[in-house]
């Protein structure tokens, strides 16, 4: 049975590596091969979901690399494979024949393989390895068009931020080992003694929050939008950001065991959902809006993990994955065809590409959490569990749901406006506005079909979670004390969603024409709560200053060139240089200079005059005599 699991992992990773190395040589064949591999993975995923294989290999001394497909990971493995296949179907449309498709498809498959390993890992080392490989592939994918330095800088920021959070996993592994859990098995983490359990849990929580772009790490997601459309669709909507939430869902017993972790996670999820929802509302670009909404929706999953409702969280994850990947694909297609992602400029985009537009509308409605659709059902499940925990959380969830409705309707409103009169003028205007790359080529059929399929999935998934039919789903996920949402809660949330949607639909036309007097709060929200500026001020700038000071100290110590410091222009350094040349190597050079002075002094007695030799010799011997006589 374990061969199935190894195949499931080996196929994407192997195919991805092959395609990556091939680069441009098989540029034409790359999409076909990539799609074949993705389809194969999907088939294997379904098979492994049914058979639930388990495999493990020796890795370190006493630590095994264990993989297992259980209830939770079965669903996710299928979801990941499905979304990957859908996105790869849409990718050729996005990437022209001139692009290095081998590299793109290779990286996407590598990412899919890494996500599968993350989902199925049962011990910490494979989880950590897959986690880091995901970060690296996301760096490569965001910076795919590396000719533009700003895109690469965005990729760097994303990678460094996620890696900073990933340090938590290293910490967790060390703490587990210290706490006596030699095997580093995830389920055994609760057994760690004393303080080490808290440290392990803290490390895992930080890593999960970092990966899922929760507060305070969410700013990297806004940079991640610089990547190609399909990348955002796969990574930054369905899989990578969900990995953090999935980890918290799986480790709920540990969160409860430590006592403080569960409420913390729940409240973080809730606050993120609300705050990032507000940020989404304040955005003017479609992809930034969708990115912020992703963070807020993942906030719901983290809330579910905090309150201990794996089935609700998973349902939310699935529904959101379908809806958001559809929306991102559509946004990406529009970015390539219309050359812009600014909402005002996208006015009437639905009418221009009807099929694509329909998919976008369906996805947006699902995202808003309107009654019959899947996200509404999932949200109710989560809110029910939250209400059982604490009313405050329930209120927070409801507010976040309302805001969610708000921003989805905002996107819908702009996109469904009637086509403005000067149809073609609009095209040229939007040409180079924000890096739209190529001419206005209509999105081919290969993009529209996946969008429609995903949107359909987002709509109908809700049915599976209806109270009557939620039994089998909850069985698959491995049950646990669930709070089925009673009817009045579902009705209340539906009402809230509808009210918020209506209010937004009514208010938007007024604000669209009103003069732009953005209040301070709005600007703050638009700038992603200026988290990045805070992070840069608190961490990055002092790190660089310290680095420059140390390097100057070391350089001055190494070649002692004071002019090097002056050229550096550090006033602090000039003060230190004036003090003295104390550096590390300075001490050594002082010794060398001392020896030089000693050397000159030692040569002085050799004057060449014999009588001075005589005198010195006789004095020398008399001194020795006195020493021998006196020192007894």
């Amino acid at each position: 049975m374990s061969a199935l699991l190894w195949a499931l992992i080996a196929l994407p990773l192997g195919a991805g590596a092959a395609l990556l190395l091939s680069g441009r040589r098989w540029n034409a064949l790359a999409p076909g091969l990539g799609l074949a591999a993705a389809a194969g993975t999907f088939g294997l995923a379904v098979a492994s979901a049914v058979f639930r294989p388990e495999a493990s290999a020796p890795l370190f001394a006493g630590v095994r690399a264990g993989l297992r497909v259980d209830g939770l990971s079965a669903v996710l493995v299928v979801a990941v494979a499905a979304v990957t296949t859908a996105v790869l179907v849409a990718s050729p449309g996005e990437l022209g024949p001139r692009e290095n498709r081998g590299r793109f498809f290779g990286l996407m498959l590598l990412f899919a393989g890494a996500m599968t390993v993350t989902v199925t890992a049962t011990t910490l080392p494979p989880l950590l390895m897959a986690w880091e490989v995901m970060g690296a592939t996301s760096w490569a994918l965001i910076g795919f068009w590396w000719h533009r330095p700003d895109r690469v800088r965005a990729a760097d920021t994303a990678f460094v931020t996620t890696r900073a959070a990933d340090l938590g996993l290293y910490l967790a592994a060390g703490a587990a080992m210290a706490g006596g859990v030699g095997s580093l098995d995830l389920t055994a983490l609760t057994g760690a003694q004393g303080g080490w359990r808290h440290v392990a849990c803290a490390g895992l929580v930080v890593a999960a929050l970092g990966k899922s772009a929760q507060l305070p790490f969410s700013f990297w997601l806004s940079h991640a939008m610089r990547g190609p459309g399909p990348v955002s669709a796969l990574l930054h909507s369905a899989t990578m950001v969900a990995a953090g939430a999935y980890l918290l869902l799986r480790l709920h017993p540990l969160l409860v065991a430590t006592g403080w972790a569960a409420p913390l996670v729940a409240w973080t999820g809730g606050v993120t959902a609300l705050a990032l929802g507000v940020v989404a509302v304040a955005q003017r670009a479609l992809k930034q809006l969708l990115a912020a909404s992703t963070s807020s929706q993942v906030g719901f999953m983290v809330l579910a993990a905090g309150v201990g409702d794996p089935s609700g969280g998973t349902l939310q994850l699935l529904a959101h994955a379908a809806a958001k990947s559809a929306l991102f694909l559509a946004a990406g297609a529009w970015l390539t065809s219309l050359g812009t992602e600014q909402l005002p400029a996208l006015r009437g985009a639905v009418r221009r590409h009807p099929l694509l537009g329909a998919g976008f509308v369906a996805g947006a409605l699902a995202l808003a959490g309107l009654p019959p659709l899947s996200l509404w059902v999932a949200k109710d499940e989560v809110l029910a569990a939250a209400r059982a925990q604490s009313p405050g959380l329930y209120a927070l969830g409801l507010a976040a749901a309302a805001v969610a409705a708000g921003y989805s309707v905002k996107a819908l409103w702009y996109v469904t406006r009637p086509l403005p009169h000067d149809h073609d003028h609009d095209h040229d205007h939007g040409q180079e506005q924000d890096g739209g790359r190529r001419g206005a080529r209509g999105p081919t059929r290969s993009v529209s079909t996946p969008v429609v399929v995903l949107a359909a999935a987002a709509v109908f998934l809700g049915v599976a979670a209806l109270p009557g039919l939620s039994g089998p789903l909850r069985g698959v996920l491995g049950g646990g004390q669930q709070h089925a949402p009673n009817p009045w809660e579902m009705a209340l949330s539906a009402a809230v969603a509808l009210a918020a949607a209506g209010a937004a639909w009514w208010w938007l036309p007024r604000s669209a024409h009103a003069p732009r007097t953005a209040s301070a709060g709005k600007r703050w929200a638009a700038d992603w709560l200026s988290m990045e500026r805070a992070a840069r001020a608190v961490l990055v700038r002092p790190a660089f200053a310290l680095a420059r000071a140390l390097a100057a100290f070391d350089d001055r110590a190494v070649d002692g060139a004071v002019h090097h410091l002056a050229r550096g222009g550090l006033t602090l350094a000039r003060g230190a240089a004036r003090a003295d040349d104390h550096g590390l190597d300075g001490a050594v050079r002082a010794v060398a200079a001392g020896c030089r002075r000693l050397g000159a002094w030692a040569r002085r007695p050799q004057t060449g005059l014999l009588h001075q030799y005589y005198a010195q010799a006789v004095v020398g011997f008399t001194l020795l005599l006195s020493i021998v006589l006196l020192v007894r």
Binding site: R596, Y613, A617
Partner: protein, 474 residues
């Protein structure tokens, strides 16, 4: 009253060859004076054979009423001196070829060698002084062999300092005779402890002055730089190497037989001498430009390392073994370096040695082996010697001295590398410069032989070490 002349075979061979050489020199025409060189070489080889025979058959004995001891120390001394003489003769063939007094050069060399052997084996103060004279006076003459301004000045300084300190040594002998009633070490050993310490101190220190002059240690080192710089390269080699071997073995025998018994703190004095010699030798060598003067200061430094074995002589058996082996390795390595200098008569300053590796790779390799050997990098003989000396020092409780020696070794690296690094730098002009013209195949072959011997000593040192552990005879 053992009168067995056979025990002094090597010394008699050398003196006999000297006399025959002198006579032959006056008879042979100038073109065929080189025969004396062959005679000298043959004498050295015969001496080596005799030494090997005495050491193999274990015939340790004291002759002529215990005034001369033939034991491990003498054996090693003979090996070093005779081997050194052989290298010197081979090295000097080109320098003194067709010189008016070519044969006298070799005769003086042989006599000075014999004197050094006497110094090494003397078991009596008077015999020690006789060795001092026999080793010293021919060396003064050799220093002025070239008869140029620099040579005569070098001889002058060497002679005058030798005369003053020789007289001091004689005075010391007289004082010790007064204090101990005899000049024989075995008698002095019993009588001196009862004599007044002040008298013993004055007498012993005066005698030590003479011996330290021969070794070139600090208070009596003033002649070393000037004599080495002024004299011909082979003579400089002889003066700084062979006389040092005789001086140090004589000093060790004197200290071991006589001084340890007295109630004075001689180990402390020797430790001080070692520290002073080491430090002054290495520091003064830092910014030398003349090659021979740099080597002179390096030999003063090496005496410092050799003296480290003296203060611990009473406490550990390792001291004698380390001293004798280090002396042997030092002789070979130092003569190798001087042979390379002899082979390049026109290269007098460090600057002249720039880019030597390109045209004279063999000489460059010899310099690398010998100079890094003098520093003590493995696998040369001096590394093993230094290892033994450091081990003896640490075991004898003088760890601070060993640490100072380590510091000095690192300091010495600086001026050796200032000489070595330019060898490999690309020469400014393509065709070999005038300075790189060698003085013929003789010195080059000697240099290579010496360098290989130094490496062999390093690698196969283990076989020689047991020879050095025999007790000193009363």
């Amino acid at each position: 009253m053992n009168e067995n002349l056979a025990a002094l075979l090597p010394e008699t061979i050398l003196l006999g060859a000297a006399v025959v050489g002198l006579l032959a020199g006056s008879l042979l025409p100038r073109r065929r004076q080189w025969a004396v060189a062959v005679l000298a070489a043959a004498a050295c080889l015969a001496g080596l054979a005799a030494t090997a025979w005495t050491m193999a058959t274990g015939r340790e004995q004291t002759v002529f009423a215990h005034t001369f001891a033939v034991d491990a120390a003498t054996g090693l001394g003979r090996l070093a001196v005779l081997g050194g003489l052989l290298l010197l003769v081979a090295m000097a063939t080109r320098t003194v070829r067709s010189h008016a007094r070519e044969s006298e050069f070799y005769v003086l060399l042989l006599m000075s060698g014999a004197g050094t052997l006497v110094l090494a084996g003397a078991n009596d103060l008077l015999l020690l002084f006789a060795g001092f004279l026999l080793a010293g006076v021919p060396a003064y003459a050799l220093a002025a062999f070239a008869k140029d301004g620099r040579g005569t000045e070098a001889a002058l300084k060497y002679y005058l300092l030798g005369a003053l300190l020789g007289t001091l040594m004689l005075a010391g002998t007289a004082v010790l005779y007064g204090a101990g009633g005899s000049t024989l070490y075995s008698d002095l050993r019993t009588t001196l402890p009862h004599a007044s310490p002040a008298l013993v101190a004055v007498g012993s220190l005066a005698v030590l002055a003479g011996v330290l002059f021969k070794a070139g240690a600090v208070p009596a080192h003033f002649w070393v730089p000037d004599a080495t710089d002024g004299a011909l390269a082979p003579v400089a080699a002889h003066v700084t190497t062979l006389t040092k071997v005789g001086g140090l073995i004589g000093a060790y025998r004197l200290a071991h037989q006589v001084l340890w018994g007295t109630a004075l703190d001689w180990p402390g004095l020797f430790a001080l001498l070692a520290a002073l010699s080491m430090s002054l030798g290495n520091l003064a060598a830092f910014f030398q430009t003349s090659v021979q003067r740099l080597l002179a200061y390096s030999t003063i430094g090496q005496v410092g390392y050799l003296l480290v074995a003296f203060p611990v002589a009473a406490r550990t058996g390792l001291a004698q073994q380390s001293l004798l082996f280090y002396l042997l390795a030092y002789t070979v390595t130092n003569l190798g370096a001087f042979a390379a200098v002899t082979a390049l008569p026109h290269a007098r300053t460090l600057e002249d040695y720039r880019g030597l590796a390109r045209h004279r790779p063999a000489l460059a390799a010899v310099l690398v082996v010998c100079l890094l050997g003098l520093v003590g990098t493995p696998p040369t003989g001096v590394f093993l010697g230094k290892l033994e000396v450091f081990q003896a020092a640490v075991e004898g409780g003088y760890t601070w001295l060993a640490a100072l020696a380590v510091a000095n070794t690192v300091a010495s690296l600086f001026y050796y590398l200032r000489w070595l690094a330019p060898l490999f730098r690309p020469a400014p002009h393509e065709q070999p410069s005038a300075a790189h013209r060698t003085a013929g195949r003789g010195p080059v072959a000697t240099a290579c032989a010496a360098a290989t011997a130094s490496l062999l000593l390093g690698l196969a040192g283990g076989t020689l070490l047991p020879l050095t552990t025999g007790p000193l005879l009363r």
